[in-house]
Amino acid sequence: MRILPGFITAITLASSAVLWAADVAADVAAETVNPEADRQAFVSFYKNRFPDIDIQAHKDGAYALDPAKRAQWQAMEDFPPYEIAVDEGRELFSVAFTNGKTYADCFARQGIGIKQEFPHFDMDQNTVVTLELAINQCRVANNEAELDYDSDEMGVITAYMAFTSRGNHFDIKVPAAGLAAYESGKQFYYERRGKLDFSCSGCHMQATGNMLRAEILSASVGHATHWPTYRFKWEKVGGLHKRFIECNEQVGAVALPQQSEAYRNLEYFLTYMSNGMELNGPASRK
């Protein structure tokens, strides 16, 4: 009796495999890396999902989706917990290195109001450069030790630089040389990982707007606008990669180091998806 189901299974599996292979071949043939088409589809997804919410409102994350939580958050913003970080960052930003130069000497427009240009694909280095990486590269170029990406110093300097960029809009470019990095970030975003077999998109696209325990899952469009962020559970200002680590760990995956190539590529993809959105960092979150 066991032979018959096995035989039928083998036949159906073989047929299924042939059809599946044909589907995949067609998909791959149709697939060309087109970031702008991706972004438009990405934005359309959220417009359809939340027709009553202006797409720009997603820069406030889950607070765009729930009026009660938004009211609480706005009340907290009367005394923003990141304010001290911005002041400390302003001070550290202007402290001269031992060679007399400062961070301002490393960046365009003296480093003021430039966060909307990060991350970008650096042709010379053939890699994605985030603001945090650029800060450390600036330090190394001036014979200073790199900062730990989780350090308070990195947090406050990026908080200050984000603060000076408020109101600007993302305009991330993906040159031909950067397409592979963009696609790698896109793959990371949609790949399932961890024991729970979750992808970033599983929570922030398919399930966005739903509750996960007591929290509302935010939309990914706008995910890049407000970093670094003061999170009450961290009790400090931290960067986007710190949040990536948290997300990966929550699904049972071994997280990657901050500023690893995979996370920089993920940030590149996510930030491109937020092109045209207003920067509003630093922000506060629970």
Binding site: P5, L13, W20, R193, K195, Q206, E249
Partner: protein, 114 residues
């Protein structure tokens, strides 16, 4: 695409009949014969190698790391029963994480809406 999904669904139902021949049965069998220090250490080593492989592919699971730590500690303490259990679980989760990595090489595109 709908046809392949339908066929895969049929396969899933039919495969239920063959559940008695799953890899879990092999694992149980192995567990009986690996209740000595050298055999358990070999399982830990194999799980460790596969965990490292999964890490390289950015698909390692934290549960594998936890199980490897507890299996190693149990073995060091002479607790063969728990060392055996945890080493096998570590190997199972390491294999599952590698299977996930392999599948997601193409399956990630299915998660793109539209």
């Amino acid at each position: 695409m709908k046809k392949s999904i339908l066929l895969l669904g049929i396969c899933s139902v039919l495969l239920l009949g063959a559940c008695s021949e799953t890899p879990m049965a092999d694992v149980e069998q192995k567990e009986v014969v690996t209740n000595d220090t050298a055999s358990i250490q070999a399982i830990i080593d194999e799980a460790q190698a596969k965990f490292a492989q999964a890490q390289q592919q950015q698909h390692a699971w934290s549960s594998t790391a936890d199980l490897l730590r507890s299996a190693t500690a149990a073995l060091a303490n002479g607790d063969l029963e728990n060392a055996r259990k945890d080493s096998h679980r570590a190997l199972l989760t390491a294999n599952a994480s590698l299977a996930q990595a392999k599948k997601q090489q193409s399956a990630w595109r299915n998660n793109i809406p539209g």
